[in-house]
Amino acid sequence: MRRLTYVEALNEALHQLLEGDDRVIVMGQGVTSPWYVGNSCIGLIDRFTESRVLDTPVSENAVTGAAVGAALAGMRPILVHPRLDFMHYAMDPIANQASNWHYMFGGKLSVPVTIWGIINRGGEQGAQHSQATHSIYAHLPGIKVIMPSTPYDVKGMLRASVYDGNPVVFVDDRWLYRIEGDVPEKRYKVEIGKGKVRRKGKDVTIVATSYLVHEALSAAEELAVKGISAEVLDPLTLKPLDEGLIVKSVSKTGRLLVVDGGWSSFGAAAEIMARVAENKEIMEIKAPLKRVALPDSPAPASRTLEKNYFKRAEDIVREAAKLVR
């Protein structure tokens, strides 16, 4: 099988979507700049021209509204916000318009838009160039939120979101871009709403999102050395969440550690824990449910503070070991 990096797989998905369907357009800030949004958009403008690859000004609110309006009118727009921090400006078209449109009008029209926001942090970028705000969007009814973590999944899930028929917020992470994996050349979809078991185990269930799936897998290796067998789950989609997969695993292990790159309070980790806590099928919980997520504090700049702030495999190992011992 062919090996591609995450960003190469993402770029291939964009090329295949544009070449296969005239309704697909790619828009957003920097899509034709010399940096091509971390190289994810490289080659698009050369093949598909300005009419389908629109570099937009920093007007996140209007540009996102325009993507929603284009989707209503029959296009399949993919809109990128190169930093999630700036996507706060786009909250009205996402939270008031796109999320409500199908319900509010009794199912008359749907909004097949893909809103792609990138977590871009580290390197002393500070509080406004670091945020992982995926949970905010998962709070909204009518929106789907996907966080593909591998090259294979990002290629298939981007395609699935373009053809989903609903507004999909697709969140990825620049720390994923260099990760390699097997990726078929053909076009394919990876189903939204289905998670995957990344590693089988019996002592503790670790549910990790996005980049932290890879940290959790490293942690599981270390835990194995310590004699702890960790099962690593990757939900891939935050909303609608594959609750069944998580319930099945926790029913087996009796222990849950959720690892998420967002803030701890009211976030994805909190929701996943709540689903497990509420579930009546899980007969035995052997240890208190636990999460590893960001402290309720803005991101720092200084590298010494950053090192402590962002979570890594060692944090997962420490907390998982506490649950089992």
Binding site: A62, Y103, M104, V162, N166
Partner: protein
């Protein structure tokens, strides 16, 4: 309607008689609906908040008379007039205001959220300025599909206080989109007079500053609105980019509900009376009679006829089925998948 005798004039100010009479009919329909809604709100038969369009009828009517079913208009919280002028069903409108299953949005939307895509009315939003960027996006789609269709957004002067208004004008200008911005300047943003909201109240100037051609007109003169909108939409269909149309008008009733906001001290009786004397329906009826397009008696008959239809629609809505709670969860997500 009887055929006019051969010696009667066939047009008013260059607009053919049929168009004038059709627009008159639309305006009277809107007014009759709004008066009926006002009574029903007062009687507490209608629960959901209604922002009435009385006094502004000439704008939606004159603009939409230049649009086809394939052209899309987006509306705001004050949506009834736009819905009717675009050709929406009065039955479905009333049923939605009464929040019934047979409503335009199946009782999920209410007065502020009407939709009828088959006539080019994708929806109305309660967020001030909220649909302007959506219309820009639809215009982008229409341009990209090379369809010749245009998109419009109707909004009030209050929208000029939202940042997305300026962003949207700019986007439409840089992409040269077939996008018509229709500002219904009724001089108030909820309770606040425009001069307290905007340091500079010249909205056309703001549109021009964003690179969009701007035109200000009397929004109570339906023939004038029709003719100007025709000129602008013709230019847009020829590929000349977006247009901003500011229509000066006045809402007869308060921001929301059947009252007049004079009792609350928000506007003076004097001001209201002055605008009532410029009622857009009175204005067009006087001109129709003066130019002998129809007689006063004929206009009385038209009004009476419309009244019967509107009352019937209202009655039907009152007796219609409520949405069932068993349907909770329906419509949150679209269940279709794009075939490919």
């Amino acid at each position: 309607m009887k055929k006019p005798a051969a010696n009667l004039p066939r047009s008013l100010d260059g607009v053919i008689r049929d168009s004038v009479m059709r627009m008159h009919r639309t305006m009277v329909t809107i007014r009759t609906v709004e008066n009926t809604v006002a009574e029903s709100v007062t009687k507490k038969e209608i629960g959901c908040p209604c922002h009435l369009y009385s006094g502004e009828e000439a704008i939606a009517t004159g603009v939409c008379a230049n649009l086809g079913k394939d052209d899309w208009i987006y509306s705001s919280h004050r949506s009834h007039g736009h819905f009717i002028a675009k050709g929406g069903s009065i039955d479905r409108l009333f049923a939605e205001i009464y929040c019934r299953e047979s409503g335009a949005s199946k009782g999920r939307g209410g007065s502020m959220h009407l939709s009828s895509p088959e006539i080019g009315f994708p929806g109305s939003s309660a967020i001030v300025s909220g649909t302007i960027s959506l219309a820009v996006g639809s215009a982008l789609a229409f341009k990209s599909m090379k369809t010749g269709r245009i998109a419009a957004s109707f909004f009030g002067d209050g929208a000029a206080n939202e940042g997305v208004f300026y962003e949207s004008l700019n986007l439409a200008a840089i992409y040269r989109l077939p996008m018509l911005f229709v500002c219904e300047n009724n001089l108030y943003s909820t309770h606040m007079p425009i001069a307290k909201c905007l340091a500079d109240t010249d909205l056309v100037k703001k549109a021009r500053a964003m690179g969009v051609r701007g035109t200000r007109i009397d929004g109570n003169d339906v023939v004038g609105v029709f003719k100007t909108a025709k000129k602008l939409t013709d230019r847009m269909r020829a590929g000349n980019g977006p247009e901003f149309l500011e229509c000066m008008t006045y809402r007869h009733r308060g921001h929301v509900g059947p009252n007049y906001d004079v009792d609350k001290g928000l506007r003076s009786k004097n001001e209201l009376d002055r605008w009532m004397r410029r009622d857009p329906i009175d204005l067009i009826e006087r001109r129709i009679i003066a130019s002998k397009l129809a007689t006063g008696k004929e206009l009385d008959d038209i009004r009476a006829n419309i009244e019967v239809g509107v009352k019937a629609a209202q009655k039907k809505a009152m007796g219609a089925r409520w949405p069932s709670c068993r349907s909770d969860g329906a419509f949150v997500y679209a269940s279709w998948r794009d075939g490919e």
